[in-house]
Point group: C2
Chain length 338, copies 2
DNA sequence: GTAGTTGATGCACACGTGTGCAAATCCCGG
DNA sequence: CCGGGATTTGCACACGTGTGCATCAACTAC
């Protein structure tokens, strides 16, 4: 059994109340007793029980984080950013993965409610307004990160994917490309739409047509998804001279297939990714991509969540926070050969 | 305020005791009342408070996981494996990153003790026997994963790095290489020694000398570490025809430097990594490496931790569990040119 | 000396849930 | 009608911590 304040009280010949106050630095305790009690606590190796404390204060100092896959290369840094803020603020982090299973997600949320987390951060899920209201009804402040539902539920932290994709496409256009394809991700929701939208806007802005037949959709956002999508593209008679990919992993998969088919990147086909995951710099050729400030997104989400739970329900809830990254030009893009 | 069993009791016109028993499926409660109470609980949206429950049962159903960096590409899968087991067993996961800071690690452990985690899994840290005893004194069952201290503290789950490195080196020897270098990681402890040891054993086994001047040490296990280590190697008059790298990231960094210097891999220099992180298959050329069963390591660690905390202190504690991966031959290795 | 003030401490209860034991109710056989 | 067992329920306390209020001693001012 662990040491409790009662054990300390008995040794110090005071009531457990005095011990509680002494250890929490209550002003009404004399300096002498406070020091004496602290000393005894240290000697016994006293560790306060947050379960009991949380029971009284009805605050657990725990934040829940829900992701789809923990090993997602674009998520590690986000979680790290969250964790950084929480550790500084003496909060703890509950982590769970839903693996794209809504049933599992419900179980996770339920479990987090049982542990009375003070707030929840949900990453890259498809939370709609109804679910958000449900969460608020449970009394759990929730922050969405890069939420994938069509309607933007708040509060949330998002990366401006539309702008990023627009910039990437403009970069290709500036290099002289006129036939540019898009490799989409069927599993993503809003992110895919936004990135497709930015691509489209850039095209139309310079007077080029948006052609449906140049949009290829992969089954997921992994390398294999990019490979499958680019294979459709290769069957085309008139191939695009550049490809905008949903993310870096798809770009890497596409890159591999292109090279297997004897095409040179960027000479025969330029290619851009999205996200600037650490590996995008290490493929051959290194990938031109759009840097998503992942750690900062995590930090912002954590700060927003903390602000939210501290404000309670009185303050006006902040809306969506939109962060912008920047274009990273590497060697996977060049002017078209012709 | 959340719904409690007392609220339910009032509505159902019974004592809170009956509600508690009914919801937990106690046999002494009549089927009628049980159903009725369950119904009321559902209607009110009752969610049990695990803090209160844990206070009585003195078990939190939480496991703590401590890592160095969350975004470590070789760690994501391990954590995923842990989380998979915990979710199935209805346990929750506390995650914290120590960032190679012993002070921070202590704070984390302290925090986890405050939350009365039922056990701790510590990944890739340098926990020695003394620290392990300290943990046991705190009453927290701890499992070490790929622990980096010289003395192997138990219980732990480890990958057989010595064997892996031995196999990789044998693969190079079998291809005809006779001058093979090793790129080490100064930040790693036991892992670096084991991998160096396996490399050395393979050399000596076939009668080749172990030459200190062919061991190059990078400052960390990242791509930049591999780059810096291989630069030392390039200054050599007689360069090795193959390189065994501490891990995949270092191999990728080394690969890049070699190619920048006009050397072709594998024609001019074969290179092998370690770990089989997902990206090792996507660099050019794809990396020959040793597959570490990361998800399984995570699962084993979680299962071991659960077994441990269920056994209490009565059962004999299991010792180190050693897992072996397998050699993955890709295109970064070939016979030497000469 | 007395009333008022300040400082230090303890009592009793609260948080939400679980449990040993007693009590109440019911059923059944004699 | 009574006794005894089985079934169902409630009382009271426990877990470890925090807090309003009362208590008590010491000190100050008149």
């Amino acid at each position: 059994m662990a040491v409790t304040i009662k054990d300390i009280a008995e040794i110090a010949q005071v009531s457990h109340t005095t011990v509680s106050r002494a250890l929490r630095g209550h002003s009404a305790i004399s300096r002498d007793t406070a020091v004496r009690i602290q000393q005894i606590a240290d000697e016994l190796g006293y560790v306060p029980n947050s379960a009991a404390r949380g029971l009284k204060s009805s605050s657990s100092r725990i934040l829940g984080v829900i992701v789809q896959r923990i090993e997602d290369p674009s998520l590690g840094e986000v979680i790290d950013g969250i964790e950084e803020v929480l550790q500084a603020e003496e909060y703890s982090l509950f982590l769970a993965a839903s693996h794209h299973d809504p049933e599992r997600e419900k179980k996770i949320i339920r479990n987090m409610c049982e542990h009375r987390v003070d707030g929840v951060i949900i990453c890259a899920s498809q939370i709609d307004l109804a679910q958000m209201q449900q969460l608020q009804q449970l009394g759990v402040p929730a922050v969405l990160v890069n939420n994938q539902a069509k309607e933007t539920a708040t509060p949330s932290v998002c990366h401006d994917d539309e702008y990023g994709s627009y910039e990437l496409t403009r970069h290709l256009l500036a290099s002289g490309h006129t036939v540019i394809g898009y490799l989409g991700n069927a599993m993503a929701g809003k992110a895919n739409e936004d990135r497709l939208g930015g691509y489209r806007r850039a095209l139309i802005e310079v007077g080029l047509p948006f052609r449906e037949e140049l949009v290829f959709v992969g089954p997921n956002g992994l390398a294999v998804g990019g490979a499958l999508a680019v294979e459709q593209c290769l069957r085309l008679a008139q191939r695009p001279s550049a490809l905008v990919c949903f993310n870096d992993m798809m770009a890497i998969g596409a890159l591999q297939v292109l090279q297997k088919n004897g095409l040179h990147v960027p000479q025969d086909c330029s290619i851009v990714g999205f996200g600037n995951i650490s590996f995008s710099a290490y493929v051959t050729p290194p990938l031109t991509t759009f840097h998503q400030p992942k750690r900062e997104i995590g930090r912002e989400a954590a700060l927003l969540a903390l602000r939210l739970l501290r404000a309670g329900a009185n303050e006006s809830k902040p809306a969506t926070k939109l962060l912008r990254g920047e274009l990273i030009v590497r060697a996977s893009t060049a002017s078209p050969a012709g």
